[in-house]
């Protein structure tokens, strides 16, 4: 057989082998998955909290209320079993690595807004044995509640106390459930997810939207032109426990 004949034969048999069964087999399905159109995307999502603007309304809890309502976070009265995604605490607890008796006085009883820092190198992700918590490409430290086995390694690993464990069934403690979002069940760990479900629909996080003083700035840290990058370039900011090397993506604008 010469080269020409061989190539012809090979081409014909290849097209028959590939095409004919595909033509007759109606079960072959072109199923496809794609990301949602119109979603907000970034290379590294981050948040800056303008603490002075926040203090203009010392009694305001709008961000916490909005977040906890949208995400069906239960309101459990017992402190040891409470669940929190975004909450408030005082300077000396928030920045224990910056001890300064005068600063503690200046900032005493001034609330700092706390939430998951969505670290660049999240220790919670490293210790999770089931990969229930993982780092998305856009920087969000995500939870796959389907996979969480409730071992609480992540809670031990997180230096910011950003994670809560469901010691009891949370449902009886949810007054006004949001039908668009699931609840959690007893035995899983939960935390702030930077409103991934809202970003998918092209909306900014609920806490940012709820803030009437615009004290929360959300955006892409790696986009030079984003509002957050501009603010962080021009103003002094601190992060929680940066010496641990986790690389928090939540910044506190001071002064």
């Amino acid at each position: 057989m010469d080269r020409r004949k061989f190539l012809k034969l090979a081409a014909i048999s290849a097209s028959l082998a590939g095409g004919v069964p595909g033509f007759f087999n109606r079960e072959v399905k072109a199923k496809n998955y794609s990301p949602p159109p119109g979603a907000l995307t970034a290379r590294r999502w981050g948040m800056a909290i303008d603490i002075k603007k926040c203090w203009e309304e010392p009694e305001c809890n709008d961000c916490i209320k909005a977040c906890h309502h949208i995400h069906n976070v239960p309101n459990i009265p017992e402190k040891k079993k409470e669940i929190k995604w975004i909450w408030k605490d005082e300077f000396e607890h928030v920045f224990p690595d910056k001890p300064n008796e005068f600063n503690n006085l200046v900032f005493s009883h001034k609330p700092f807004i706390l939430l998951c820092n969505h670290c660049k190198h999240p220790p919670c992700v490293r210790v999770c044995p089931t990969q229930a918590t993982f780092k998305r490409e856009d920087g969000i430290v995500m939870m796959d509640y389907h996979r969480c086995i409730g071992c609480r390694f992540c809670m031990a690993a997180c230096p910011f106390g950003a994670r809560s464990f469901n010691w009891v069934d949370p449902r009886p403690y949810i007054q006004d459930p949001n039908p668009e979002f699931p609840t959690r069940m007893k035995g899983v760990v939960e935390k702030c997810l930077f409103c991934y479900e809202r970003l998918e629909k092209g909306q900014i996080p609920a806490c940012v939207e709820a803030c009437k003083r615009k004290a929360l700035i959300f955006g892409d840290l790696e986009d030079e032109n984003s509002e957050i990058a501009q603010v962080l370039k021009s103003r002094f900011s601190i992060r929680r426990k940066p010496e641990l090397g986790t690389g928090p993506s939540v910044f506190y604008l001071i002064g």
């Binding site: 072109a30 199923k31 496809n32 949602p36 949810i174 459930p177």
Partner: protein, 150 residues
């Protein structure tokens, strides 16, 4: 064979007893479950959904949560938003009239609804005491009665 007058009837009684469920239900027919189907078409064909919805849902949740793939293009090119509460249940308005009918018939209890909220649920009831909690007299409500325990 020794004692065959006792052994053989014994074996017969044993076999009858073991196969009792078969005799008991023999000749009885149970009506096939009738889930309430919404108007319009589903994500895939009826036959495929009937046999493979669990695999599809499992794939969906992995793709949506882990890879951010929220849109599903079905075999005939129609596009669907992936989600149980925001996808499936927007057409299947009632879990008790759709999911439960077959699941009860087949005696399966998927744990989707431990976290996901069925569309017909508007409010969650007070905490329920399980048998184990009742047995050990553990209070189900938190806060007021349990303070001195820890």
């Amino acid at each position: 064979m020794y004692n065959s007058d006792k052994v053989i009837p014994g074996i017969i009684i044993f076999v009858l007893f073991v196969t009792l469920p078969i005799w008991w239900n023999h000749g009885k027919t149970v009506a096939a479950p009738q889930p309430e189907l919404p108007q319009g078409r589903c994500v895939e064909s009826k036959e495929y959904m009937r046999s493979h919805h669990m695999q599809l849902l499992n794939q969906w949740r992995n793709m949506a949560i882990r890879d951010g793939m929220r849109v599903y293009t079905s075999s005939d090119g129609a596009r669907f938003w992936i989600g149980l509460q925001n996808g499936c249940m927007k057409c299947h308005h009632d879990k008790s009239k759709f999911c439960d009918r077959c699941h009860q018939f087949a005696a399966v209890e998927p744990y989707c609804w431990n976290c996901h909220i069925p569309p017909e649920t508007k409010k969650f009831g007070p905490p329920k005491a399980t048998k184990l909690l009742k047995l050990f007299h553990v209070p189900v409500t938190l806060g007021d009665s349990q303070e001195g325990e820890e």
